[in-house]
Amino acid sequence: MTPVIELRNVTKAFGSGTARPNAVLEQINLSIEGHEFASIVGPSGCGKSTLLRIMMGLTTPTDGEVYYRGKPVKDVIEGMAMVFQTFALFPWLTVLQNIEIGLQGRKISDDAKRKRSLKLVEIMGLEGFEEAYPRELSGGMKQRVGLARALVSDPEVLLMDEPFSSLDPLTATHLREEVLDLWLNPEVSPGSVVMVTHNVEEAVYMADRIIVLTHRPGTIIKEVHIDLPRPRNPRSPELYRVVDEITGMIA
């Protein structure tokens, strides 16, 4: 089967063509399959976020090719949506309007956009907050809006860049659970999820496969398949064994 996303020999360097190009990613070969939850982990500065931006077509690689369903990527891909660490909501728009932004440019009627956005309001537990502005929301609620905006366009791939890092630990616990529920919910499920995180426990708790990057320039040192049955207990010894193994590779 053709992978959903495929990166072949992808290299990214800033200031290429100068005497001292600064390589961020080097020789990345990676495929994302349909129906998988993949996580990219590595120390800060290993190019994880750049890798995500390249997958989505937001940044072009210096060298190498990116394919989406077997076709070369030339522009931002419609079938993907991104969730950001800092939520990236528009402060002057309400919750409902922020979600509708996720449908901008889609050729559907305003009525259909409103209907689909309200569906996401319901699924994300945001009923009652439709008219609220981001400044009135807690971090957890803001990231719910971020998820709703990403999922409203029914993406095939959901990309998440450190989605829980700016939340307090209790809220992060809760939202991880919610994201796993969403992934299993046929009404909204993106086929695949790619999550970038520096938190190894979080990756092992959530993902089917972990791609481990080294420090700059980022290269893949290992891919680990996580076969632990779901639902997983984040505090089980089996889980910690895998966490220790992966942490050892990065440290």
């Binding site: 807690s138 209790l170 809220t171 505090r235």
Partner: protein
């Protein structure tokens, strides 16, 4: 809100009973940071505190087993019986169309509940009131409104956890 649900989920991972210091330790949190969530969950009857242990109640387990609409329904029922919500909702309902202004509610809190910090209490009421579909608030106009029961009840079909 999200913190409280997160805390209940952590309790569930520990089979429903765990020392509060262990939770703080596990999450790399100070005890102080944990307390607002503990207080909220205790107020709602979702957990009990017993000699340093946090215990998930049956009501708390029921809450966790519901999807978001079901959780809102439970909170709607529980919060509308708490003295502070009862008190404030009765006050707002005295106005035409069960709607008044933020300033009006703040004055009411200052007058009737002088021990509470009025602005903080107002923000808390709005956050929980919105979540539980008890209150609607428009920060542009400063208008706050009591949601009438007919619109507050999600239909039964939406109650199950989406799986």
């Amino acid at each position: 809100m999200s913190q409280m649900i997160g805390l209940l989920e952590v309790l569930e991972d520990f089979n429903g009973r765990v020392d509060v210091a262990k939770v703080a330790d596990d999450l790399l949190l100070e005890l102080d940071d944990l307390l607002p969530a503990v207080d909220a969950a205790e107020l709602l009857g979702f957990l009990k505190v017993d000699s340093g242990d946090l215990i998930l109640t049956d009501e708390g387990k029921r809450f966790l087993s519901r999807g978001s609409s079901g959780r809102k329904r439970m909170l709607n029922r529980i919060l509308s019986k708490t003295p502070i919500f009862k008190f404030v909702i009765t006050f707002i309902k005295q106005h035409e169309e069960a709607e008044t202004t933020k300033d009006d509610v703040i004055d009411f809190i200052r007058r009737e509940m002088p021990d509470l910090e009025a602005e903080t209490t107002f923000r808390w009421l709005v956050e929980w009131g919105r979540y539980a579909l008890l209150l609607r608030y428009d920060s542009n106009s400063g208008k706050i409104k009591v949601v009438q029961p007919t619109t507050a009840q999600p239909t039964a079909s939406q109650e199950g956890k989406p799986q």
